[in-house]
Amino acid sequence: MKKVFIAVMAALMLVGCGSSSSDETSQTTQEEFVFEANGTTVKMNEETSSILEGLGKEIEYYEAKSCAFDGMDKTYTYAGFQLITYPDGDKDRVNSVVLKDDTVSTKEGVCIGDTKAKVEEAYGTDYTEKNGAYTYTKGKSTLEFIFDGDAVSSITYTAITK
């Protein structure tokens, strides 16, 4: 009985000594999809300070309270694309990049208006398809192409944060 008591007490003590698993910062250890603009590489889940510095002054800025947590979800609008961030403690990290027109393209050369064939030529056929949209996954990131007929109408890079 004494052993059982000691074991239970030890377990209780351990309960107070564990480390957090759910609050850990997102890590980008695997290869990711990356977007490039103004000579700056934008990687999903990356801390944003040097990225913002590289991209230069945004055209528009919007911040939204991250519903119940400290920090803000921020949207930076640049010529041809939007960069959206999420808070992670004192830092902001890249949540998504949305390409808005054909003045910018993905690193692999696909832009809005291109054909499905060009998307497949650049990224292959290892995508998941939902409602005609192609989603490619690499590391902790996805790259989604939405089509209007055969033409790309939207391109979005998104961080996988879970």
């Binding site: 009985m1 000594c17 564990g18 911040e63 119940a68 989603t135 879970k162």
Partner: protein, 357 residues
């Protein structure tokens, strides 16, 4: 033998007491930080459960409607069972639980959460579920809400989830260890008097699929049935928050659903001028949520609708109700005065979760 039994009993009591004490200490208190986490539990502090109207939903209900204005202007007794990013199944189970306490004339559900098909985030689940008292509704809410990484045992024994808070403990964790937390909301409404007008709203991203999921429709069907079975009118709303985007394709689905199921659906985004909302002054975070001024305007507009459409009785002449609500009005007025004082003194709402500008 007798001595052995006594030792075992004392040991068990000691273990249970230690567990209880640790859990009481380490559970987040949600007072100065993330007050949204206190909203669900505050419902149980009500003296009488006789609300005419109960709201369920996400931040678009608990930030945008003022039950005190509904009372002062129309004598409507209301409560907001809202919480951050409340998902539709959580709203349903809160609705189910609420009906165990009272039978309101009207239940109002904000439909923004139709966009979420699957459980999203453990932290938000906690804000929605931890505050619920144990019941079959809570159990079912947990089952419906858990992400793949979660375990039901962590909800039964929250200490297992919060044990790592040792390093984050503040004086509030000790102060409110055994209860006694201050009331933070006004029948579920979180007040903010500060202003941050709208300069720009990001263009909405195109979606691959605008169709709401079968899972969400199933819960909406359950809400309709629950209300029908209990002779409660269900009103679907979309609050007039400008961000995040509410797509026309989503709106059309709600209009169609309401028509087919004979429930009302009001998209307040279509009535911004009639409500009198000025998004330079009636929001505290650039269009996501209304501030006090905006919430009072919206409540006046909606209160008039509720009275005209559902003939909600004016309870201001009932002395018991008037007495209870007079205390709520005083708390509301005092907090309003205190928030304006802080705004004047510090330039931001120092004690109410705002950040220094």
């Amino acid at each position: 033998m007798k001595k052995k039994v006594i030792i075992i009993t004392i040991s068990i009591c000691l273990i249970l007491s230690t567990f209880f004490l640790l859990q009481s200490l380490l559970m987040p208190k949600y007072v100065s930080e993330v007050p949204e986490g206190s909203l669900i539990a505050e419902y149980y502090n009500e003296d009488v459960y006789d609300h005419n109207v109960v709201f369920v939903g996400d931040c678009e209900v608990y930030e945008n409607f003022s039950p005190i204005t509904l009372w002062e202007e129309y004598g409507i007794k209301s409560y907001i069972r809202g919480s951050a990013q409340q998902l539709i199944w959580q709203s349903y189970y809160l609705m189910e639980e609420t009906i165990q306490y009272e039978k309101p004339d009207v239940i109002v559900f904000n439909v923004l959460s139709m966009k979420y098909d699957v459980p999203q985030n453990e932290a938000y689940n906690r804000l929605n579920i931890d505050g619920m008292k144990w019941s079959s509704s809570k159990w079912n809410a947990i089952q419906a809400s858990m992400t793949e990484e979660e375990s039901v045992i962590d909800y039964i024994f929250p200490l297992l989830r919060y044990h790592q808070r040792w390093s984050e403990l503040t004086s509030e964790d000790f102060e409110y260890m055994f209860g006694g937390k201050p009331q933070l909301s006004h029948n579920g409404f979180l007040m903010r008097v500060d202003e941050l007008g709208v300069d720009t709203i990001p263009e909405a991203q195109p979606l691959a699929d605008y169709q709401f999921s079968d899972n969400c429709y199933e819960y909406l069907d359950k809400m309709v049935k629950l209300c029908q079975d209990n002779d409660i009118k269900l009103v679907l709303i979309k609050a007039p928050s400008l961000y995040p985007a509410w797509y026309d394709e989503w709106d059309e689905q709600m209009v169609q659903y309401a028509k087919e199921n004979h429930v009302d659906y009001i998209n307040f985004l279509n009535y911004i001028d009639e409500i009198g909302l000025d998004f330079q002054h009636d929001t505290y975070d650039a269009g996501l949520h209304l501030n006090l001024s905006g919430a009072e305007k919206l409540s006046r507009y909606f209160g008039n609708y509720l009275v005209e459409k559902y003939d909600i009785e004016d309870s201001r002449k009932d002395s018991d109700s008037a007495s209870r609500w007079a205390k709520k009005v005083k708390f509301y007025d005092d907090m309003k005065e205190d928030q304006y004082r802080e705004l004047e003194e510090y330039g931001y709402l120092k004690s109410y979760g705002a950040k220094e500008k």
